[in-house]
Symmetry: C2
Amino acid sequence: MEPGGCDAGPTVKAVAAVLPAGGSGERLGGATPKQFCTVQGRPLVSYTVRAVERVSWISDIIVVVSPENIETMKSIIEKYGHKRVTVTEGGITRHRSIFNGLKLFSENKFSNHLLQKPEVVVIHDAVRPFVEEDILLKVVMAAKEHGAAGAIRPLVSTVIASAADGCLDHSLERTKYRASEMPQAFLFDIIYQAYQQCTDYDLDYGTECLHLALKYCKTNAKLVEGTADLWKVTYKRDLYAAESIIKDSLSQQICIITDVKEAVVQVGFLLHESLRSQIKVETISISLSKRDNHLQNIFSGQCYNFVCINDKKYATEEIQQLVDMLEESNIPLLHPVVLISVHLNTSENASFSIDLEELTKMKKFAREVKRKNILVYGLLIQYKDYFPLQETVNSAAALTMALIKDRNPELTGQLVVA
Amino acid sequence: MEPGGCDAGPTVKAVAAVLPAGGSGERLGGATPKQFCTVQGRPLVSYTVRAVERVSWISDIIVVVSPENIETMKSIIEKYGHKRVTVTEGGITRHRSIFNGLKLFSENKFSNHLLQKPEVVVIHDAVRPFVEEDILLKVVMAAKEHGAAGAIRPLVSTVIASAADGCLDHSLERTKYRASEMPQAFLFDIIYQAYQQCTDYDLDYGTECLHLALKYCKTNAKLVEGTADLWKVTYKRDLYAAESIIKDSLSQQICIITDVKEAVVQVGFLLHESLRSQIKVETISISLSKRDNHLQNIFSGQCYNFVCINDKKYATEEIQQLVDMLEESNIPLLHPVVLISVHLNTSENASFSIDLEELTKMKKFAREVKRKNILVYGLLIQYKDYFPLQETVNSAAALTMALIKDRNPELTGQLVVA
C-alpha cells in the first residue's frame, strides 16, 4: 500500500476485508450453501477471495464461515493458493458473523495472531464474485472521508409495502430509493463500536451494516453508484449466469503455438487471421524442446486457451511438453485450461482415415490430463491442394471457438474434423 | 374457458393478456432490445408469448411493441406459429404502451377487430419468459375478487433512501416491503378507468399499475407470493441464465430409437439403463420405414432429444427419415432438436478406422439439417468382445448428455467416439 497513491491504492494506513460466507443458501434450493457451489469446478467463494486478493493494498482478508465449513474453507485456501486469508468461525446470523470477523483485529484472545488493526475495513459478500478494484477503491476512499460508505444500484422492481390483510398499502417512488449492495467500507473504529453497542435484536434480525453505523455512531454512509457486476448469487439461475460470465472471460484470449516448419507456420497464420475478429490471438513459432521464455510468460499470464499445431499425426510428445509447462505455471489450477492439439493431414491419400487405436490412446491421455484441470481436444485440418485450405481453416476456427466456449470436460480426447 | 373450473381455469367470463414489449433494453448494453434478443436462436418474447398462449383460458394476447418493431413482432408470430395474438403499437413509456394495449378492447376505431372486452386482464412483461399457469390463475382469481392483484417476491437487497448529499438517509425494514413483480391482473373496467383518469406525469414517470388502480379507483390490489421463476431479464447475465434454464429444460427427456436387430436392441437397452439416472428415457425398437404411431406421438410431445442406434456404418437414410418425421411434427421450430446418430462398430478388425470422406458427407448433411433447427451428431460405439461393452456404453451415455446439454451448433456433423 503506497501512501502517495501512485499505484492507485488509497492513502489509508491499512485496509482489511471481511467476507461473510456463513449463509445456508436456502434460496438456491440445494444442500450446498451457494458460496461453496462450484462454477467451472471451483467453489464460488474462491472466485470472490481471488477478486479481493488481487487488490494489492488490501492487507488481510478474513473469511467468516459456519463452524461445519471451517475445514472446507481451509482446504479451498490451500488448493487455490490464496494468500493473506484468515478463516474464522461465524455466528448464526450475518451480523454476528461479520462481528466475529471484526473481533479478530481487536481482541487479544487470539494470542498468536499477527493481524494488524486496519484503519478501514471492507465488508463484501462471499457470493459477489465479480467485484472490481475500482469500486473497492471508491468505497474505501469514501469511508475514510465519511466514516462509512456502500455501493448502491438502481432498483430493478418497484418496492411496495403490504398491509396486514395481504393487500397493497403503498408503492415507493422508485427514483428516491436504491438497492444497497456490497462492497461496503467503514473506518474500523466506527463499525466496531456500532457492533459493540447494537442489541441482540439488531444482531439477529438486522441486515444492513450501513444502518448500524448510522444508528449507533450517527455516521451517514456515503453512497457510491456501483456497476451491474456487483450482483449477488442468490438463486440457481445466478449460478448459471456466473458460469457463463466466467466462461466468457476465459474465452477472451488464445495462444497459437506452432513448430518452425513452413507448412505449419502458414496454417498457424491463417488460423490467427480467422480467429482474431472474435478473440485476442497471439501466435508463436518455436521449437518446443527449447523452453521458450516468451511462452513461459504467456503461461503465467491470463491466457487459458492454447492451440498447438503439428504436422505429426498424433503429437503426444509435444502436447505432453505443453502440459508439463502449464502445470509448472500453476494457471490450470484456477481455471480449466483448453489445449487443442491440431494435426495437419498432409497425406497424399484422399481417403485418409482415423485410426481408432490411436484415438483410444489420445482419450486415455486426455483423461489423465483432465485431473490436472487441462482439457485436451484434438482437431484435424486437411492440408492438401484439393481441399480449399482457407475454408478448412475457417471451419477449424469455428470449432476452436466452440470448444473454448463450452469447455466441456466430457468431450476431451475427442478428435473433431475441420 | 370452462365456467365450472374443472380444467383448473378460472370461473371468469373472459381473460385476456397484455404483454408490454416496447422497452429499449438500455440496461442490457446492446443495440437489440432484450425482448428481441435470441436465446437458443429464438427471440425471448416468443418464449413469453408461448408461456401465456399455452394457458387455454386466456382468450386474447396483445403484444405491445414500439412502431419500428411491429413487423419484427409480426414475423415472430408467423414463424413460431403463435395463436390468439394481436400486435399493436406502443407509446413512449411503459404505461402508455399498456394503455394502448387496453384500448384495443374498448375503442371502436379498430372497426375490423374481433376482440371481446375481457372481464379480467392480465398484464405481464414480455421479458419474464418462465411464468407458470399456476401463478397466472392465482392473480386472475384474486383480481376477480379484489379488483386487482399482483405477484410479489421478497427483496434480494436492502432498500435504502438517499439524502440530497448522496449519503444514507434511512434504510427500510426489509420484512415490511416486497418487490412488485409480474404477472398482475385487473378487472378490466378498473384498470381501464384508472388509465383514463391518470395524468401525463403518471403516464410518463409512473412504473406501477397496482399503484394506478389504488390511486384512481381506490382498489387495494391483493398481493400474491410468486415463485423465483418470475424474474425479469434485465441484464446480459439474465440472458445467460435464461439460456441455461432453457437448455436445462430441453435436457429432461430423451428418446432412444433402435431397429429390431438383437445386437442393436441390446445396446439400446444398456444405453437406456446408463442414462436413466440423469434423464427421462423412452426406448422404442421399430422398423423406421413403417411410420410408427408411437414415434409420431413422441415427436408431437415435449421431447427434443433423439438417439438413433444402427449397425450400419453411416446410416444416412435412417437419419433422413427421422429428420423428415421431425420436420413434419413442427417441434424443431420452437427449439433446436438434438439427433444423435449412433453407429455400432461390429467389425472384426480391431484397428477399425474412420473414413474421412464419409465424415465429410455427414458434415455436409448435418449442415443442411441445421437450417431446419435439427442438430445432428455422430457417436461411435465399439461392439466387440474385447471392448468391455458396458464401459463403452457408459462413455457413450456421458457423451450423449454432453452433446444434449451443450446443444452446440458448431459441433454438428462431428463423430465422437465412446
